[in-house]
Symmetry: C2
Subunit: 352 residues, 2 copies
């Protein structure tokens, strides 16, 4: 066991401040990673402020961060896939039982014994797991991912959550050439959705409430941009979409988007609005439509996504900040004042 | 053009009474069918009482009925697939443009120019189409279906709507051997769902509010029956279903059923509750679940369903009534006082 620097919050109303935390020494199956960049995900903020207390209460102190890229510094004796010096990544999970049907099917995110990267019981050290707002992390090799060498590392970090969360449902619902795909909400998740849908060869339509986002949407890969408050513009796209990715976590009228789906079309929501969404059954019935949810992705698909990003040179658009600006970044995140994801340059932690 | 006997309603609060209506003489592509049985569907009642006025206002007089089986009496010169004497069926549709992408894909129910069996503009005679509560019907051969010779005709009639409505989503969502399938609501639709899921080889669980329906559910093919008001019983089935057919058109808590789906599981609703259903996004997200609607089925799939019924000797459980009891049957339908579908013996119309 050894102590390292990290940023943690002591309570739901406390800011994140510099601290020290313990990491285990790598076991034979472990990989130790020096963290270079860590993305800021909205769920970091939810957890820090205990906003998900109902189903996932926060244990304090909390060290958030599950969009981690870094360089491997040590590997255990049984680790063959990785070696010191490799660029590697860790996402939302650091462990699972490996034996249940979900794990065997490559859906570790649904394993009943899955360990989240932060705020999950830590079976090695006791207490809870600590995430990526820290100098280094020690992770079982099964949960370590390879990062293609051509990717910008600051921009690659958000792929581990925002990336896989949007990539997975697009693959499941067969987004590709000849398909018309909508993306609702142009934030951290939505902007990745646009990039993936475009790279997969689909015709991409971005829905936005503000006409001044049009140019940015086109730059990300949108073929069309629809101002969702304009009923006439919406109507022009009625019954035409194969797939819509809904990345809005605020309350919104989902039926307006469901009615834009063609026969057999699917709308997948990846943000979780706080209240149940009223869904008109008839809107689903009239064209055999479906409304789904999707939660990150398993390890095999996360690696597939990273490889896809390497091939298409896709990373998130990030604003790189030092760790000292993390509290300010949280406030800006609440106002959607970032294009489109914050990525913490963890070198800044060394000066603490 | 020739006049025939029928039962029609003159207004939203009028009973159905004996009348005469005009049918066209068969054109070269038409088939004339003497109607032997016509099922009573809840949408007959909705239309007669103009309860769907918002999206499908009723034109009076209305002759309902879209679960039609009978014997062919005449065929047009271009009709090769059918001949007088054949047993045939007609469902919810009698025409479509035949050229749009939906028609070409065999999804005539979504053709923008589809003609419903009743209460749709009649392009031959003007006015609106008249349904199966009548002596005979003249239909384009493309919308005439073959009825396997082993099927009881009174019980076969409801296959044309209740049957295809439940069969289609089960095929789409791959119900079969090794799958666990739930059916919510044991009425006209639900009881067909149980029969199909059982015949397709699935493990079938029926959800009911009343414990006294258990025996009947088992007789229809259920392997298990769960009393949905018993939270403990429901909890035992958490995260275990591949597919759930929801045939309840009253308001109900759909999230309780969504939470019973396993990863990638689907719940399809075929009844349309009057108000939007509150859906918890997190329930869909947590296991990549989906919530769908489904509307009857296209002509190719309806024929496939009838052939499947022939092979497995499946018909609806019906209470056969004379047409003179149709108003009484509507009142009983509102109280779910029928096991499980009324089928009108149209020979009774001859005495009018």
């Amino acid at each position: 066991m050894h102590n390292i620097k990290a940023y943690s919050a002591a309570g739901a109303t406390s800011p994140l401040t510099s601290t020290k935390i313990a990491r285990r020494d790598p076991t034979e199956h472990d990989v130790e990673i020096e963290i270079l960049f860590c993305g800021i995900c909205h769920s970091d903020l939810h957890s820090v402020r205990n906003e998900w207390s109902e189903f996932m209460p926060t244990a304090y102190p909390i060290v958030p961060g599950h969009e981690i890229v870094g360089r491997i510094t040590k590997v255990g004796s049984a680790v063959k896939k990785f070696k010191p010096g490799d660029v590697a990544a860790v996402g939302c999970m650091v462990d699972s039982d490996g034996t249940c049907p979900e794990c065997r099917a490559g859906f570790e995110q649904f394993c009943p014994n899955m360990t989240l990267t932060f705020n999950s019981p830590d079976k090695h050290l006791g207490g809870v797991t600590y995430g990526g707002y820290s100098e280094s992390i020690v992770v079982d090799q099964r949960f370590v991912l390879r990062v293609p060498s051509n990717l910008n590392l600051a921009g690659a970090a958000p792929l581990l959550c925002a990336g896989i969360t949007t990539y997975s449902p697009m693959r499941r619902w067969k987004v590709g050439k000849g398909k018309k795909v909508g993306v609702v909400g142009l934030g951290g998740l939505g902007h990745m959705g646009v990039k993936f849908a475009h790279a997969l060869g689909a015709h991409v339509v971005v829905f936005t409430t503000s006409p001044n986002k049009k140019e940015a949407a086109h730059r990300l890969g949108a073929d069309e941009v629809v101002v969702s408050r304009d009923a006439g513009e919406m109507q022009k796209h009625a019954e035409s979409f194969d797939f819509i990715l809904d990345a809005v976590s605020a309350e919104h009228d989902i039926n307006a988007y469901i009615s834009l789906l063609r026969r057999d079309g699917n709308l997948t929501i990846v943000g979780a609005p706080p209240k149940p969404l009223p869904v008109a059954a008839l809107g689903l019935i009239m064209r055999n439509r479906s409304f789904s949810g999707s939660m990150i992705g398993g390890i095999p698909e996360t690696q597939e996504m990273l490889d896809f990003c390497g091939k298409h040179n896709i990373t998130a658009d990030v604003e790189v900040i030092p760790i000292q600006k993390v509290n300010e970044a949280y406030e800006r995140l609440l106002k959607s004042d970032v294009k489109y994801r914050f990525s913490i340059d963890m070198a800044s932690l060394k000066s603490e």
